[in-house]
């Protein structure tokens, strides 16, 4: 079956899902289970009045900000803990603690201590994600090629050059894994912080439609959200990963 075009199967699978959904909606005939058409109409209406893009945009910005914050702090701490035994000993217990505190608790505490602010929302999401990044990057930093590190030291490479050209390329697969898991996690926690303490964003909208029992719009926002997440994966993460791995795939 190699070399055969697999796309028909994917298309068929999506069609089947829509078919099952439409059939279920027709049988249930209830506003709590709107069919694909009703959801499509709701999506178009929300897009037309601009609300969809406003809320999606705000959610996207919160995802981007907390992702950037979590990745930069997580990578720095991960390298520190992977390379220096003392740092690992000191920060280790904190890591275990933060890994096991439920996301909800962090979000609630951030709002209580920092107020219902944008900064609190983003900090809460980042704090939830940082421990995962640290764990991934630390395991990468522990398995750095010591031969290359010796080379860097013997040739008196600057700290910056060592980090940029010797350390980070070796950590790239670990950082990609962290970014990928991270994005999936951050999307979900962002909805949570929006639900609990913001007055806009996809999470806020979903919460509102839940209270209004407007399931068509709730699903419309959900699908828009899933589509954007998938687009980000295809348009951003995949090309970055290909670029980072081009030396692996280069052929003579």
């Amino acid at each position: 079956m190699k070399g055969m075009d697999r796309r028909p199967w994917t298309a068929l699978s999506i069609l089947a899902l829509l078919g099952i959904w439409a059939a279920a909606a027709a049988i249930a005939a209830s506003p709590t289970l709107p069919g694909p058409l009703a959801v499509g109409e709701a999506l178009v209406a929300e897009a037309a009045n601009g609300k969809l893009f406003y809320h999606l945009g705000l959610t996207l910005w919160r995802v981007a900000a907390s992702f950037a914050l979590a990745m930069s702090i997580g990578v720095a701490l991960g390298i520190l803990m992977g390379r220096f035994r003392t740092a690992d000993d000191i920060l280790g217990p904190w890591l275990v603690l933060t890994l096991n505190v439920p996301a909800l608790v962090v979000v609630v505490l951030a709002y209580v201590w920092l107020g219902l602010t944008e900064a609190a929302a983003i900090a809460a999401v980042a704090v939830n994600k940082i421990p995962n990044v640290v764990v991934q990057v630390r395991s990468g930093a522990r398995s750095l090629d010591e031969g290359l590190m010796d080379m860097a030291r013997a040739y008196r490479l600057s700290r910056y050059d060592t980090l940029r050209h010797v350390v980070l390329p070796q950590l790239a697969p670990y950082m990609m894994a962290a970014a990928r898991n991270g994005l999936a996690l951050i999307w979900k926690i962002v909805l949570l912080v929006e639900l609990l303490g913001r007055s806009n964003g996809v999470g806020f909208q979903i919460h509102m439609f839940f209270q209004l029992f407007d399931i068509a719009r709730l699903l419309a926002y959900t699908f828009a959200f899933v589509a954007v997440a998938q687009l980000l994966e295809l348009a951003l993460l995949a090309p970055v990963e290909r670029h980072a791995a081009r030396w692996r795939t280069a052929r003579p």
Partner: protein
């Protein structure tokens, strides 16, 4: 005869002056194990010195100390000929140790100080080693022999005061290793510098060095010193083999260490 083949004036300060009073490692039982004791030698300007000894005798440990990779030892490390300036040290390791995610040219550029990057120095040295065509390739795309030549090019690109070679041609087949040794000698004749070579191969030491220091098993110290006659680049394979025979048939027991 080009001027740099003259021996430097006697009494000129050495490039490297290494005195290791003691170097210990934490042993398995918690008791420190001394691997090097009272090892002292110098390397003069343009001189090539080989450290030869049984494996595990602390040769690489000594080389790491000179390279600045290990500063935990009793003793002193100085570079008297440089007048207090930071030495430019180049290393050729047992493996090429090129960054696999950078092209050969980028690998060379990286070890150059900032102002000298992008000035064609990397391309020059790659071309010198016959790698002009491969400059934009990644290390995994070229043969092991070419990776070794790139590692040599990288070493010369930093204009070293001292070149450190740690069994640089180990794991290569005989003819290829011989060609690379020849390339190294030719390059050293054109662009002379002090060199310190570690090897367990006596033939390689005779081919590349002016002076051979024979080391004892751990704790390492110098047990014999041999001057190899003639100029390095003039030695034929037959000269090398004849001198090797001469060394291993000497009556002193130390020469049995390297036979």
């Amino acid at each position: 005869m080009p001027p740099w083949n003259d021996m430097p004036p006697a009494g000129a300060p050495p490039v490297l002056d290494l005195r290791i009073a003691g170097k210990t490692y934490p042993g398995a039982s918690g008791q420190p194990v001394t691997v090097v004791r009272d090892l002292a030698f110098t390397v003069g300007p343009r001189e090539s010195v080989a450290l030869v000894g049984p494996s595990g005798c602390g040769k690489t440990t000594s080389l790491n100390i000179v390279a600045g990779l290990d500063s935990r030892f009793d003793g002193s490390l100085s570079f008297p000929a440089l007048g207090g300036r930071e030495p430019h040290i180049a290393c050729v390791f047992q493996e090429p140790r090129l960054l696999p995610w950078r092209t050969l040219e980028q690998n060379l550029e990286l070890v150059l100080p900032k102002p000298r990057r992008g000035t064609g120095i990397a391309a020059h040295w790659l071309a010198h080693m016959g790698l002009a065509e491969a400059a934009q390739r990644f290390p995994t795309q070229v043969s092991l022999g070419m990776q070794r030549r790139a590692a040599l090019a990288r070493a010369f690109a930093v204009e070293p005061d001292l070149l450190l070679l740690d069994e640089p041609f180990v794991s290569l087949d005989g003819p290829l290793a011989r060609r690379l040794r020849r390339l190294l000698l030719d390059t050293l004749a054109e662009r002379p510098c002090a060199a310190l070579l570690v090897t367990h191969d006596l033939r390689e030491a005779i081919e590349l060095a002016d002076r051979i220091l024979i080391l004892s098993p751990s704790p390492t110290r110098v047990v014999a010193e041999v001057t190899v006659p003639g100029r390095r680049e003039d030695r034929t394979e037959r000269d090398v083999e004849a001198f090797r025979q001469d060394l291993v048939s000497r009556p002193e027991p130390v020469f049995r260490l390297i036979a």
